[in-house]
Each structure stands twice: as structure tokens, then as C-alpha cells.
């Protein structure tokens, strides 16, 4: 039952994609 409740948490599953994109963007910006 508690596992089902866990499913209701809003987890930023694709945070790594955003982190990567941000990192690449600013790495590019900074030459």
C-alpha cells in the first residue's frame, strides 16, 4: 500500500537531462 503512495510523489525523474542540458549550454556559453 505504501508503495502506491510513493507513486504519488512528484519526483523530477528527468532532472539529469535538465542538468546535462544546462551544463552543456553554459559550457558552450563560456567557450
Amino acid at each position: 500500500m505504501s508503495a502506491e503512495h510513493l507513486a504519488e510523489e512528484n519526483i523530477w525523474f528527468d532532472k539529469y537531462r535538465y542538468d546535462d542540458a544546462e551544463r552543456r549550454y553554459y559550457e558552450q556559453m563560456n567557450g
Binding site: S2, A3, E4, H5, L6, E9, I11
Partner: protein
């Protein structure tokens, strides 16, 4: 000494942080996690609850004095002791550093890996493999940090250990089988020390470490 009610659902690892903190500080916390006191999915959608906790999320804490608080790290910080919070400016900052680290670095990949094994999320091979590598990297980072340390900040348990251990809980219970966790002896030692502290045990009970990596539950 803080005293009040913590609204949550059973086995909510985020609530564990506050309850373990309360074990250390002696704060008197009533847990409301089942009807009639609190019915997750219903009570937290009522106007009365939303007035106090606008996000409608748990854990949520209401003090006997009426003081209301949401976000699990804030509740754990409030219910903890000065020692848990870090008794110097530097220690307090390091405690917050690891609490943020737990939420922003550990929880996303941990959830991506564990949720499918609990049958609460569709399995995706690529996402799981990426999450595994990310978890490996985080365990190594902790392993390095804990090489010459017993606890994450200072010489005693702090909210840093409580937060990071709770964020790793499902991983150690579900998927970190001995072969996978073998390269991280310091992290494993630290985790084992934490979960065997009386205050952790009082909340978590006996934590059985994963023996065989759970696969996704179709």
C-alpha cells in the same frame, strides 16, 4: 521542546527523517497516518488541510501551538536538536549541503531505479541503466568522503546522516545487492552504523539489506 502531529502515509521515507530527528531531540510527535486521524488522498485534499498546508503534500507538521510546516527537510530541522542541526556555522551549512544533496542528487536516480521494482512505475531499461550509473557515482562520492569519517558532518550523527541515509533507504533495501555495493565499503559501513542507531531503529525497525537486486515488477 517541539510537540505536535506529523501527517503522513505509512512507510513514507520523507517522514522518517523528521521522526528520527524527533527521537534524538525528544520532541513529542504524534503520527497521523491512517483513518480516522488522516486518510492520505482524502484528508490532504480538504480545505482545512490545504489552508494549513497549501501544497497538500505530506509529511506535514502541525505543532500543538498551531505552528504549521511542510517540506520534509524543514520539518526534520525543526524537530531536531541543535546537535543534529550542526552546532557551528560551518557544521550547520554542511548539514544543509548534504540535505540538499540527498534531495537533488540521490532521490531522482534512486526513484528512477527503485520505483519500477516496486511496480509503481513503468520499467525503462535505458532510464534504469542511467540511474544505476548515477547511483554508483553517488555511492563512490560518499565512499570517498567517508574514508576518514564516521559521520558526514562532525563526529556525531546529524541531519546530514539522517537525510542521506533515508534517501538511500529504498536502494539498500531493494537493489543494492552485495556485489553492487561491494566497491563502497565506507558508505556501507556508515549506512549500517546509522540504521543501527537506536533512534533510527525506533523509526525504521530492523532494516534488512538487499541480498538480491530486485528487478522491475511487471
Amino acid at each position: 521542546m517541539a510537540a505536535g502531529t506529523l501527517y503522513t502515509y505509512p512507510e513514507n521515507w520523507r517522514a522518517f527523517k523528521a521522526l528520527i530527528a524527533a527521537q534524538y531531540s525528544g520532541a513529542k510527535v504524534q503520527v497521523a497516518s491512517s483513518p480516522p486521524q488522516f486518510h492520505f488522498g482524502q484528508t490532504n485534499k480538504t480545505p482545512d488541510f490545504l489552508k494549513k498546508f497549501p501544497l497538500g503534500k505530506v509529511p506535514a507538521f502541525q505543532g500543538d501551538d498551531g505552528f504549521c510546516l511542510f517540506e520534509s527537510n524543514a520539518i526534520a530541522h525543526y524537530l531536531g536538536s541543535d546537535a543534529l542541526r550542526g552546532s557551528s556555522k560551518e557544521a550547520a551549512a554542511q548539514v544543509l549541503q548534504w540535505m540538499s544533496f540527498a534531495d537533488s542528487e540521490i532521490v531522482p536516480p534512486a526513484s528512477a531505479w527503485v520505483f519500477p521494482t516496486l511496480g509503481i512505475m513503468q520499467y525503462n531499461k535505458q532510464a534504469t541503466e542511467l540511474a544505476k550509473e548515477e547511483v554508483r557515482r553517488l555511492l563512490e562520492l560518499l565512499n570517498e568522503h567517508l574514508k576518514s569519517r564516521t559521520f558526514l558532518v562532525g563526529e556525531r550523527v546529524s541531519l546530514a546522516d539522517i537525510s542521506v541515509a533515508c534517501a538511500l533507504l529504498w536502494l539498500y533495501k531493494q537493489v543494492l545487492e552485495p556485489a553492487f555495493r561491494q566497491p563502497f565499503p565506507n558508505t556501507n559501513r556508515w549506512f549500517s552504523t546509522c540504521i543501527n542507531q537506536p533512534q533510527f531503529r525506533a523509526v525504521l525497525g530492523e532494516v534488512r539489506l538487499c541480498e538480491k537486486m530486485a528487478q522491475f515488477d511487471a
